[in-house]
């Protein structure tokens, strides 16, 4: 029997009740701890949490020198993944609760623009109700509730998701195209040789991607030396040499910088205004 095998029925509810009670008791206890003990506990838990995935990767699955050796952490990867799934699921609810509190306050205190908060509640409630409802009802003419049939529930959901959410989301994203055009007019100025080089590369890549640009150099032979000057091939050369080198260089720098930052946080060596303020508190 796997240690993390799923349970069902009454056993599941006992597990849930026991886990909830246990966590409440644990948090109550943690709340009473003095600050310096909380800090020590935070450091210990941070280290252990980071150690799990580090050791799981760096310890070998098997060993030549110790035939009995088997990496004990590898079997925990799947339960850990499932646990993360559940924990991340809570953050969705956390976001909703937070938003509801903020917008609820706006409506209760009739702050300017409170009607936007009312729109938020209308959108949230309708999406939750019809989203869940259509998941659990078949798309048939069978009556559902509130005078609606199951098919009508699906249609309302279609209007909300396909008719409202999708076009609204795509519309806001489309603003970027207009902002790109104005940014191009306002800010792309050739003030130095490097800027001129960058601009030339940008023109080649932009034209090489689209049929009208490719048509400009279609008259060049498809093979041979002069084929390199076709816009799409020139674009490919820029992306596969110059651009790739730059992206790789920045990527390596970021990766090592990220490793350093991760090490500092894992080993609780992070310093700076905030962390020193926490330490100086009694």
């Amino acid at each position: 029997m796997h240690p993390f095998a799923p349970v069902h029925g009454r056993e599941l509810w006992i597990y849930i009740a026991a886990a909830t009670a246990g966590w409440i008791a644990l948090f109550a206890l943690l709340h009473r701890l003095p600050l310096r003990h909380k800090r020590a506990l935070t450091i210990a838990l941070t280290f252990i949490a980071g150690l799990f995935y580090t050791l799981e990767f760096y310890l070998p699955a098997k060993s030549h020198w110790f035939p009995w050796w088997k990496n004990p952490l590898s079997d925990l990867i799947v339960p850990m993944g499932n646990a993360m799934n559940v924990i991340f699921g809570f953050t969705l609810a956390l976001g909703l609760i937070n938003l509801a509190m903020i917008h609820g306050r706006n409506i209760a205190r009739k702050r300017p623009g409170w009607f936007n908060s009312a729109a938020f509640f209308a959108a949230m409630i309708s999406m939750i109700v019809f989203g869940l409802w259509q998941t659990y009802t078949p798309d048939t003419n069978r009556p559902a509730a509130l005078g609606l049939s199951c098919a009508q529930v699906h249609r309302v959901y279609d209007v909300l998701f396909n008719g409202l959410l999708q076009p609204l989301g795509a519309t806001v994203f489309s603003i970027l195209a207009f902002y790109m055009a104005t940014a191009a007019f306002r800010a792309f100025r050739i003030r130095a040789a490097e800027a001129a080089l960058m601009m030339a590369s940008a023109f080649i890549v932009m034209l090489g991607q689209v049929p009208v640009g490719r048509a400009l150099t279609n008259w060049l032979p498809a093979h041979g030396f002069y084929s390199q000057f076709r816009l799409e091939r020139f674009m490919g050369w820029i992306l596969n040499t110059w651009s790739m080198a730059g992206v790789r260089a920045v990527g390596f720098g970021l990766a090592v910088g990220g490793l350093s930052m991760a090490l500092r946080i894992w080993l609780s060596l992070e310093r700076g205004s905030f962390f020193e303020m926490r330490e100086s508190k009694p």
Binding site: G81, M84, F188, F203, V210, S243, M244, V247
Partner: protein
């Protein structure tokens, strides 16, 4: 708004209007143009064609409604290729909850066209919230990580999932994304288990893919709408990628014209100031 402020806003509104007009006109009256697939697109197509038919393909749909303009045609082109070539695939999302739902809509409408059935020819695993730990768990045990499909059927009861236990049964993962998800697939699937990776991304993310393509860590790239258009041409289907290339061309030309105009105006203003001083 003061008169002066309004005057300074005018160029912006003219640019907006011009862009809007050009895109609308070219969307209504597109000029068909043959698309020739670039090497990254051809590589992806050939990699999919070379896959064993008994293996499952994962379409990791990490995009939202905002990037539907680029990722939607890419998803449609890939789904059509998989349907045409008779390969089973699973839709999976771990970055955006709406991704699997959007891909479901695309796959549903295309399945009717190709006579394919949900559950037999494709499955939708839905959205899993755990991030990278979920990807790691998925590689080791797919049924225990996914548990149910988007229609709440136990995953082991879905015919398309017969015999699929872990990464061994996965032929390829194709990451269709508008977000920074490629690094996770490279690090935790391709790098660890050697599972072949394909990538379909928005235009702005294309240059980031080339180091991985060059190193052989990904088999091919569909970059932006043009990638979708080229892939449609390779697979021999019509689609939104090719239909929208006229608009894309027009928009690119307009932006280049605006950059040139902006620089011409800058030079003219400089000369005027120099003339006033002299």
């Amino acid at each position: 708004m003061s008169v002066a402020a309004g005057r300074s806003e005018r160029p912006r509104y003219v640019i907006y209007a011009l862009l809007w007009l050009i895109v609308i006109v070219t969307l209504i009256w597109p000029i068909p143009s043959p698309m020739k697939a670039s090497p990254p697109v051809r590589s992806l197509h050939n990699a999919i064609e070379a896959l064993p038919r008994n293996k499952l393909v994962i379409l990791s749909v990490s995009w939202d409604v905002g990037t539907r303009g680029e990722n939607g045609p890419q998803t449609a082109a890939l789904v059509q290729h998989l349907f045409k070539s008779g390969r089973r695939f699973a839709i999976f999302g771990w970055a955006y909850p709406t991704g699997p739902m959007l891909a479901e809509g695309i796959a549903q409408s295309l399945s009717r066209k190709y006579g394919k059935r949900y559950g037999t020819d494709w499955v939708n695993w839905g959205f899993k919230a755990g991030g990278i730990p979920t990807l790691q768990a998925l590689a080791k045990d797919i049924p225990r990580t996914i548990v149910e499909d988007i229609r709440h059927t136990t995953i082991t009861d879905v015919p398309a999932m017969a015999g699929v236990r872990d990464w061994h049964e996965i032929g390829m993962v194709i990451d269709i994304t508008g977000s920074a998800t490629l690094d996770a697939w490279v690090a935790f699937w391709q790098g660890v288990y050697g599972v072949p990776l394909g990538y379909a991304c928005t235009g702005v993310m294309g240059p980031e893919a080339f180091p991985y393509l060059d190193a052989g860590q990904i088999k091919g790239v569909l970059n932006a709408l043009v990638g979708a258009a080229e892939y449609e041409a390779m697979v021999g289907i019509g689609g939104q990628g090719q239909q929208r290339m006229t608009s894309q061309s027009a928009a690119h030309v307009l932006i280049i014209a605006l950059i040139i105009l902006g620089n011409v105006l800058m030079v003219r203003d400089r000369r005027r100031k120099a003339g006033d001083r002299g």
